[in-house]
Symmetry: C2
Subunit: 343 residues, 2 copies
């Protein structure tokens, strides 16, 4: 069964293709009667316009793509929801594009930029390590959202929105200190990490320092290596290892909520409890942390605000046709849950 095209419809209706085109696109200057007739034939024949042809022909379209690496990260869910809402309100088309682990997101962006004549791009995600040069090749406006970049030189060149990973990490570890904890372990990213893993580690160190506690490498426990390093399972495994090591500590800072949840289970399985035996803090503010028992002390990232600001900047660039290189940093919110207590 051959694909039915605009020509077929035109032929059936006994009109020219342009008339059919007008009918499809709600073009004014078409006789309502013919339009209706055409639409009916279209419906009867299950005609669907070919988007490839449309995109090819159109010189521009009102669409914005959000690229996410690791789409199953539950931290992104509410952000994506927010992006979609705002983009639709602006009457733009929203395209969510997953980027798989071994793909380069910039290449993907360049591809769909041409393919869909994008107006703008949002890069969403925690790991991102691309050269300034490569990023410069992108000709559409884009914003880096929630991307932890340690290379500040590169960062300053582009529009970005994120939470202050280092500062917030400092805040929560400082809070642990204020509770009287002196031996605070960290479930951290592998050392080579140059992104949020590193930033949050820096915050941890800074907080210790401020509180006159010496950094102790024996209290650093590296999460598993791999794309799921910030997962529940990863936290579980690493904490088991930590407990076996007999390292002495009274509090644990997990650099991610999911990691904290895995840690909690591991502790429980060894016959101990949170917060009785260990105070436990996470980072991100996942919805789950409110419902978990005990609810988790964490840093809540203001996801809606981040999403809003990301798009405000992006639309600013689109509408004023000028590049912005603001770096907006949001504060997080320290949520005090049931997982921490004074010593």
């Amino acid at each position: 069964m051959k694909n039915v095209t605009i020509k077929d419809i035109a032929k059936i209706c006994g009109v020219g293709v342009s008339t059919v085109s007008r009918a499809i696109n709600d073009n004014p200057g078409i006789n309502p009667a013919t339009k209706e007739r055409i639409l009916k034939v279209i419906d009867e024949n299950n005609y669907v316009p070919n988007n490839s042809a449309r995109n090819l022909k159109r010189s521009e379209s009102e669409t914005i793509a959000v690229l996410v690496k690791g789409i199953n990260n539950s931290f992104f869910s509410p952000m994506i929801t927010e992006f979609e809402k705002i983009i639709q309100e602006k009457k733009y088309t929203f395209v969510l594009q997953r980027v798989d682990q071994n793909q380069n997101e910039i290449d993907v962006a360049m591809e769909i930029e041409k393919e869909k004549r994008l107006k703008g791009v949002v890069f969403l995600g925690g790991y991102f390590s691309h050269s300034k040069e490569k990023l410069c090749k992108l000709t559409v406006p884009f914003v880096l959202s929630t991307i932890g970049m340690t290379d500040l030189g590169a960062k300053k060149e582009f529009a970005s929105v994120a939470v202050d990973d280092e500062g917030e990490s400092f805040k929560i570890v400082d809070y642990l200190c204020s509770l009287g904890h002196k031996k605070i372990a960290i479930l951290a990213a592998p050392e080579y990490d140059e992104s949020i893993g590193k930033l949050r580690m820096e915050g941890y160190k800074a907080a210790l320092k401020k509180n006159g506690i010496e950094f102790d490498n024996n209290l650093v426990f590296e999460l598993i290596d791999g794309n799921d390093r910030y997962s529940i399972k990863s936290g579980y495994i690493t904490t088991k290892k930590m407990l076996k090591s007999k390292a002495e500590c009274t509090a644990i800072f997990a650099i991610t909520d999911a990691v904290a949840i895995g840690a909690c289970r591991a502790i429980w399985e060894e016959g101990m409890k949170v917060p009785e035996n260990f105070s436990l803090a996470g980072f991100d503010g996942l919805e789950l942390t409110r419902y978990y028992i005990p609810s988790l002390t964490t840093i809540r990232q203001p996801v809606e605000e981040i999403a809003k600001e990301t798009l405000r900047m992006l639309f600013g660039m689109i509408e004023n046709k000028e590049k912005i290189n603001e770096n907006v940093v949001f504060p997080g919110k320290l949520i005090i849950g049931e997982s921490t207590r004074g010593i």
Copy 2:
């Protein structure tokens, strides 16, 4: 800055477009030296072939699309991962397409079928209510995966893979009965639900019946109305309501793991505990249920197997060019966690 096209590259290199095309597509019959030269120019000029034009020209492509409604459902994550893996092994291109709540997934499928010259489609998701007629309009092979359809007449016409929602629901409620529970509440979908919500309810009823327990409408608690009706929050709210109602029960069947987690928190907040005061069972087998405290008694859906079987059928249809209308039903696995106990 004008978009650079294949013509520009050809001009710069002083060759014809077809030569450039050959270079891009690893076509044999091209001088390695010219090829290299062309590739270099391509790189220098940031040329990226336009996919719309490619798709338009190509009469077919080896790509399979997976359409998901409500992509942030964590139940889908491992399935999607599995789909991706298998599709890539088959050297096909994998396209993950989100369908938003007010979009009709069949329309979306028809659109991208034309746009990308799809070879096959997987519909993934729990809610699906489309007429047989509409589904018949799709000309590419497709499989309904993990879709609870109560309309068996319609279902039989198409290829589908799913867990036996009703049977597994029966199994877990029967298990609760076997523990001695006689007053078993259910956190259920709104009554109008015609999908998994209804199926799981049927299983619940059947299990009660088998165990000589009369169905009691006062023990049915409807989840909130909306797209997030199977969320943690929904379970939390509904359970709060239930506890206020003073309904008497010793066990609770939540039709979803997320709902169960919300329920657990609500119970805890009212000063009670799982399983001491209520035995609690979920459904789905999310990774989280293993780590939750207490770990959740649930039905684990064999997601990998479901994904494998889905694609086996799909590729069968693609390769043999004939429609299959098998309905494969997988058993789930009753996972006995810490959230249930004998009375």
